[in-house]
Symmetry: C2
Subunit: 300 residues, 2 copies
């Protein structure tokens, strides 16, 4: 497998799967809300890497291979992720005007619509996961576990809590524990959920869920450390979003606390530990391992 494996094509295959589904599912429902749907779709199809869907599919692939069964769940998580980006970019939050090389949602549609598009995408994520017509092959207990854990990882105990701590600590000197809280909650919670979700949908046992959750949390933290590094070492053109934005927003980062070299070492160590977590799955975990490696090698 490893000789012929091409990560780029692999990601593209699953990204297309989820994109096709979202394009067909999220349609203009009413003449009064055309602009709202337009705004939701703008950010949803603004060129995201689909890392979260690909993690879900890859984790699920360890257990089963009915990938179409997973697609609405992968789409739901991507919708939720997109809502978080739209709200994070708002003037009252990170005040970013560029995302994936394009104007952010509120620049295109105005703040009010951007807030509502985020609200609607968040709400729709739950609607999609809990829709029995869209998910005829998902047992009820699995559906509930998937949606409940999404809320837990995305709400005030998870992602939103991390975003709050991030905003709330802007301009303040912070310690490693606080920075780690922010990164784990803001980014790693949702990524660990994605990996666990694959095990949930694939009927893995509690040990499987725990392993994949840990894998996701470690690559999530590494992902965020790399983000901090790239924010310093890259240009706006390379990133597709404004470089040096952490400095602009007076945000504490790993490189600031530990320096560049030590930060790179920490990211590398986390990736090694993550891969170790899932080594028991041997070849079945191959795509996940390749994704983990890609996370520290990426340049944008």
């Amino acid at each position: 497998m490893s000789n012929n494996f091409n990560l780029k094509n692999y990601i593209k295959f699953f990204a297309n799967k989820v994109d096709d589904w979202m394009r067909n599912n999220l349609v203009y429902s009413n003449k009064h809300t055309v602009g709202l749907l337009e705004s939701m779709r703008y950010s949803l199809f603004a060129g995201g890497k689909r890392l979260r869907p690909v993690l879900i599919y890859s984790s699920y692939g360890i257990f089963e291979s009915y990938f179409d069964k997973v697609t609405p769940f992968a789409a739901a998580v991507e919708m939720l992720h997109t809502y978080s980006l739209i709200h994070d970019d708002l003037p009252a939050m990170d005040d970013d005007d560029l995302r994936r090389g394009k104007p952010t949602n509120h620049i295109m549609f105005g703040e009010a619509t951007a807030i509502l598009a985020g609200d609607a995408l968040l709400t729709h994520a739950f609607q999609v996961m809990l829709d029995k017509d869209l998910n005829p092959d998902i047992p009820e207990n699995i559906m509930i576990e998937a949606a409940f854990k999404l809320a837990k990882h995305a709400g005030f105990e998870g992602m939103v809590g991390g975003q709050y701590a991030d905003i709330n600590n802007e301009g303040k000197p912070i310690d490693e524990e606080t920075l780690s809280f922010i990164h784990i909650h803001k980014t790693a919670k949702l990524l660990s959920y994605c990996c666990e979700l694959g095990a949930i949908l694939g009927f893995g046992d509690e040990t499987d869920k725990k392993r994949l959750h840990n894998f996701g949390e470690k690559i999530g933290l590494a992902f965020q450390i790399v983000d901090d590094i790239l924010d310093i070492t890259s240009t706006t053109e390379q990133l597709g979003k404004n470089a040096k934005s952490d400095e602009k927003n007076s945000k504490a980062t790993y490189p600031q606390i530990f320096g560049l070299d030590e930060s790179k070492k920490k990211a590398k160590k986390l990736i090694d530990e993550a891969i170790e977590e899932i080594s028991v799955y041997d070849k079945a975990a191959f795509p996940l391992i390749e994704i983990a490696k890609y996370i520290i090698e990426r340049t944008n």
Copy 2:
């Protein structure tokens, strides 16, 4: 029953039930997010009338009377309603600084925290409904139906869609159909959901759900028409929020299109129709009927 029935005490009884539960459930979880929880709790306990919980309990009471079973669902809906108020009041939306006689969330905690508090309350509503530990007596299919329909009524096909249409039509001349779309989606969708939810949790059949849904939609539309009327005829002190805010935001209202008298007649007709919808339940629907009457008699 009717001779001894006191609507105020009845509402207070159920409002206390849901308030007690929310106070115990929504607790400070982590030192890094104390301010976020504080902001969520501020708006949650800012003196709301608990109309939505009371509708859920009252509708459920037609079928069963294990009211404690319903409480987490009533709390979840109140959390979702509170999120919608926080986001509606934001400067980019209705820009209101007063709600229930108190400063709005963003005035107290800043815009960023207000946006996140709303996001967290919305997410937590789903978490509460889907939590098996909190809801040991709710069958899985009922849990899914309740949470799925909440998303459908609250998202872009429901409440958020209505809010978008409202904002998007500010300052424009609009026709009755558009105004009706806004009112139905912005307000009546969630109220009709509340009434249907009572039937869902009480194991009502599809006819029961439809009847109570229709009842809720009609009182919801009447509620919004009365809101429009009160916005014109009341003072800020009476309302606990800024009076004449529709005019300030150049919003079309029923009185503006139909005049005050005709608007009052329309509200009265909707309440009569709503009561007719549930007349089949006879005495069991008595609290709902009293609530319907209260909606057009209220002064704030």
